[in-house]
């Protein structure tokens, strides 16, 4: 497969489509050519493809000669880049010289001095093609436009998460600072009573006047709960929060919020 070397460069206002066949480089254009290649491997691949050389049987002499000619030209102006190209030159010359040595009778693939170079060239070519295919994929922001209609951002107040431990720590803090500590020690039983006090107050607020017995759910609630409920009523009465009335003995007892009409 022949790789196309894309060159997007202008020299003297003229579009350059390809590297000239003879590799003659006009001095002013040297930089342009340098930028057309991604490095010594890229240049080697170009030379191999341009001259239709078999990558698996690289004629080292031909390749090395062409490569050296190119590097000589670039050395003049781009020394720092030339270093990488020079390193490749050294490698090419080393391969060439090893190939001139007498061969052992049995040779394996690994013994071929070109093997490492060929592997690198093939890996680089594969990546180069992959990069081209990757670049050809549609990309968000280039070929792909993503839906992004407007919406009114509503600042949602996210409630803080509070743990029970934090609540307890707060309560403990209150108590430690309060002088009348002992009065605030709360037992579980007392909390049940307090909970029922709140429930009864809510009920009375909603229903106005409620018959005493209606506050007790004798069917579903066990005796301990009924006792707690009764204690809650007594506590409410003691704190003056509810008003308990009875018209006459043995008539129904009614509860209402204190001060309710």
């Amino acid at each position: 497969m022949q790789t196309k070397l894309a060159i997007d460069a202008r020299i003297y206002g003229q579009q350059l489509d390809a590297i000239p066949q003879d590799l003659y480089i006009p001095p002013d254009a040297l930089e342009v050519y340098l930028e057309a290649f991604e490095g010594p491997l890229d240049l080697l691949l170009y030379l191999i493809r341009k001259h239709n050389l078999d990558i698996l049987d690289i004629p080292m002499a031909e390749l090395t000669r062409q490569y050296m000619r190119y590097v000589e030209k670039m050395q003049a102006s781009r020394l720092e880049l030339a270093a990488e190209y020079l390193l490749m030159s050294a490698m090419l010359i080393e391969i060439k010289s090893r190939m001139l040595l007498p061969k052992p009778a049995e040779i394996t693939e690994e013994d071929d001095p070109r093997a490492a170079l060929v592997r690198r060239l093939m890996e680089y070519e594969a990546i180069k093609l992959a990069a081209q295919r990757l670049d050809a994929l549609p990309q968000v922001g280039r070929e792909i436009s993503v839906a992004q209609a407007y919406y009114e951002h509503i600042v949602q107040v996210v409630p803080a998460q509070v743990s029970l431990d934090e609540l307890l720590a707060a309560w403990q803090g209150v108590l430690q600072r309060a002088s009348h500590y002992q009065h605030h020690q709360i037992s579980r039983e007392e909390l049940s009573v307090r909970e029922h006090m709140s429930q009864i107050l809510r009920r009375l607020r909603q229903d106005g006047m409620v018959e005493f017995s209606a506050l007790f759910d004798v069917v579903t609630e066990g005796l301990p709960k009924l006792v707690v409920c009764f204690l809650a009523i007594l506590e409410l009465a003691r704190e003056g929060l509810v008003h308990i009335t009875q018209q006459a003995a043995y008539t129904p007892i009614y509860l209402q919020l204190h001060g309710a009409p």
Partner: protein, 194 residues
């Protein structure tokens, strides 16, 4: 790329552009879509048609100062807002203490809370607790001024993963459990604690 041949195709180009542009498109922007092969009058007509097409859609085409844009109907904004929640705020120590007093001493008035904490109750704290539905007003105490009585709610229990208030640990549950090193028969603790 083939230039759109008829107004139906043009309307589709317009719709695709409006749905994918983050900024409103002005009429001039939209004319650019058609590389000059579009009359302003036609464009306005197409925009009217597009708006009608979306009449019952989840978005609406609206005109704002800088141009036209599609936007989600107001009813969907609260749902979309759930995708990017703001960072949860942290509650102040004052709020937590107030909540603790209401939870353990309910029903209580502001006066009760102030007496325990020794400082005035910040009205914002009560408002926050009410808005969070952790407390509500369950009555008034029959004293001058008839102050409101506050209590905790079902939401409070739910949010703290409790079934009843009695599941709130009692004080002695957390009397330095890790400091229980006394190997002697249990004697009453310091006098102030009784």
């Amino acid at each position: 790329m083939q230039e759109p041949e008829n107004t139906t195709e043009m309307k589709r180009v317009l719709e695709a552009a409006l749905l994918t542009c983050s900024e409103p498109l002005s009429l001039d922007d939209m004319l650019k879509l058609f590389a000059g092969r579009m009359e302003r009058a036609t464009l306005r007509m197409l925009l009217d048609e597009l708006r009608a097409d979306w009449q019952t859609g989840t978005l609406e085409l609206v005109q704002v100062a800088s141009g036209w844009r599609f936007q989600a109907r107001a009813e969907y904004a609260p749902f979309i807002a759930r995708l990017t929640p703001d960072r949860p705020q942290r509650y102040s120590r004052a709020l937590m203490e107030t909540l603790a007093i209401i939870a353990y001493r309910q029903p209580v008035t502001r006066g009760d809370i102030e007496e325990v904490r020794g400082v005035m109750v910040n009205p914002n704290i009560m408002r926050q607790l009410l808005e969070r539905h952790w407390i509500d007003v369950v009555g008034q105490r029959e004293v001058p001024g008839r102050p409101s009585l506050y209590a905790t709610t079902r939401t409070f229990l739910d949010d703290f993963n409790l079934r009843t208030l009695s599941e709130l640990p009692a004080m002695d549950d957390f009397q330095h459990p890790e400091l229980q090193l006394d190997l002697q028969p249990h004697t009453p603790e310091s006098p102030s604690m009784n």
